[in-house]
Symmetry: C2
Subunit: 456 residues, 2 copies
Amino acid sequence: MAERLIHLNAFENASPVNISSGLWRHPEDQSHRYKDVRYWIELAQMLEGAGFDSIFMADVLGMLDVYQGKPDAALRTATQVPINDPTTLVSAMAAATRHIGFAMTVSLTYEQPYAFARTMTSLDHVSGGRVGWNIVTSYLDSAARNLGRAEQMSHDERYDRGDEFMEVLYKLWEGSWEDDAVVIDKARGVYVDPAKVHPIRHQGPYFSVPDAFIAEPSPQRTPVLFQAGSSARGQQFAATHAEGVFVHGTRPEVIAPVVANVRARAAALGRDPRSVRAFAVTTIVAAETDEAAQAKYAELLSYADYEGAMVQFAGPLGVDVSKFDPDQPLTEINPNAAHFTRHLFADADPDRVWTLRDIADYMGVGGMGPKFVGSGKTIVDEMQRWVDIADLDGFNITYAIRPGTFADTVKYVVPELRRRGLMRPAYQGTTFRENIYGAGQARLRDDHPGKKFWRG
Amino acid sequence: MAERLIHLNAFENASPVNISSGLWRHPEDQSHRYKDVRYWIELAQMLEGAGFDSIFMADVLGMLDVYQGKPDAALRTATQVPINDPTTLVSAMAAATRHIGFAMTVSLTYEQPYAFARTMTSLDHVSGGRVGWNIVTSYLDSAARNLGRAEQMSHDERYDRGDEFMEVLYKLWEGSWEDDAVVIDKARGVYVDPAKVHPIRHQGPYFSVPDAFIAEPSPQRTPVLFQAGSSARGQQFAATHAEGVFVHGTRPEVIAPVVANVRARAAALGRDPRSVRAFAVTTIVAAETDEAAQAKYAELLSYADYEGAMVQFAGPLGVDVSKFDPDQPLTEINPNAAHFTRHLFADADPDRVWTLRDIADYMGVGGMGPKFVGSGKTIVDEMQRWVDIADLDGFNITYAIRPGTFADTVKYVVPELRRRGLMRPAYQGTTFRENIYGAGQARLRDDHPGKKFWRG
């Protein structure tokens, strides 16, 4: 039954708000501590105590500015701005823990693979093999225009460049330094055996990297790879590279075909389809009883922010909804927005007529994702239902308040998961990849396409 | 007499070897721990206990491969390879200390200012205002060819781009967010006041950055800026931007005109010339007595590595000296090398005829820089002589062995400096800049050119 274990990740970001805009105003919320390294150390220690696989850091390099055509509402509500570079937090959290992993969102669109490879390898060294990378190819025009690209590359071009970027990384991480290249032989005066360090001689349409890697192999070599691509091209990219996909959807029935599709594509590439771990994004509101949890949900929702929700809704929709009447049915105002909403909230009555206020109410706690509200028993029942229907391996848990949402999950949900034998009794190894695949699997699996670059 | 205080920085890098190749073989050396976060935490705590201003991290993104026309000897002797990204170490060291600063070498040649600005701001947040930046414009072809540039930009072009890069950074760090932009007003539901966050609208020959900064101001806003430019264009760059310059030379008489020149250029730009702090690079071999220190020096030197020294000598010389007879006078083999050597080792007898073996002997401990060998009294005498002649503010101390060189400095040199009142009795503030300029100066000085972008 190893397949049915439920893995938990905390879905975080180095900003006052990730998903639930307005909740920073809650009396118990500590989101203003996002720039305080102590917040991160305390969080990592608490989650490691509960057996979480990782802290999974979202990131953006541009502001959400579709709403009102400017970033003012994003700033006012601190919705993903200000935001710090999450990689700068890793070594402090790693030094204070021993097992929990750290998955970092970094867009490859604005990086050079040679320098980026070294940063990730360095993080893997300082954490003793506990770094993951959520591969993003970026969608924000606001990032592109400040980072030397007047406009975005086309969608497919981004993925083509991404595939070559990954190839360069595999060559550097897996293929450049053999396992026994570092000998540290004091008698012979040889620290590294140059015969076991190989120039990668990469020459492609996007990158030229002729030389050997400049860093020695880290415990995992390649960090644990995550992806969340949803387009056909994105799913093919995920099926090729991802060891974990995280999937969004308000019902497990919506997620199931996405997971099945990525796994089928992975199988077609010669990978064990089950080796692509699937994590659904959800927000947890847990309490002693279902009634107490529902009351907590209502109380949390009272701090939600209409504008903050609209900032997040307008971004992917690509329509400035500030011009719409909040209480007028969307079907009357904008057919695209109405269609987008039906698609997004697939769990709702298909005949329901949504207004923007309805959407903001839905998004207030947990944004466009689902929320599991209840006692530990109710939430774990729901988790199991999702796992069964969508063939999941676990959840990326977003916070409503910090660290309250995670503290409640640790207090109410984790014990119930343990009671049912749904969490591994203890960490299986010392690396992030072993948290996911079990003891001994610190490196890429043999069926992962990056592994073919490994020289042993 | 505040001008005559002597400030100490530890000159480190995240590699088995920085300057003294071969010394990793010394029985007491722990350089193999360069990838162990505990090494860095222990070092930072020891140096903070002794009142050091900072740990100053060197870095390169390419291998030294002029010697033999390949990187094999650099690898064999681990001379600046393998090397990790030093920025990944900051948060762990910062979380374990309260005062010591962390100066990071990063080449601006391969960075986009918008993303780089955020990384430095994030490091300044997580360290509570203790980050510095050693601005490098890169000279290694081996870095350029792996980072998307088939060849280096011309020397002057690198500095022109560098000046614009700095302008973008000042706009982001100083000018984009007003001091009271972050209000965190729960009653009004305003986290950031958008009226106090300004798009920087930068449009120049090298960079286009229209939008506002995505991170909120950190304690120092602009990190403490260091530079080591030695060409005329490099000195002008340093005089414009640097708050600290670090200078290389085997005699203080050689360093004096360099320091005077940078300060004169700074004065011409309207800056207080004394506000450009000058630090000389040196290696310290300290012991209870002069005799014991000389014996220690001889013992250290017995672990020096000829090839490692030649790897470092060949790089800036630009000549593959592996083809030369180690024992033949350089004047007979290569006039350029002979001239370079005379220039480099300006303290030697001008009529001396050097061989490569002589050079390797000189470089064995401390590389091309000076070394202060002796009791605490002797070394502090020498420090004072250097400070007086070259008008210095302190020293960047390179290690022969780790952490032994720093432990000896703390044990033998720091007490003598304190005895003479040459070190401040305690840290003056909580930021790196206050370590250098004194309490209250967490931000750029008013006469620094970056300050004119500040909006208050």
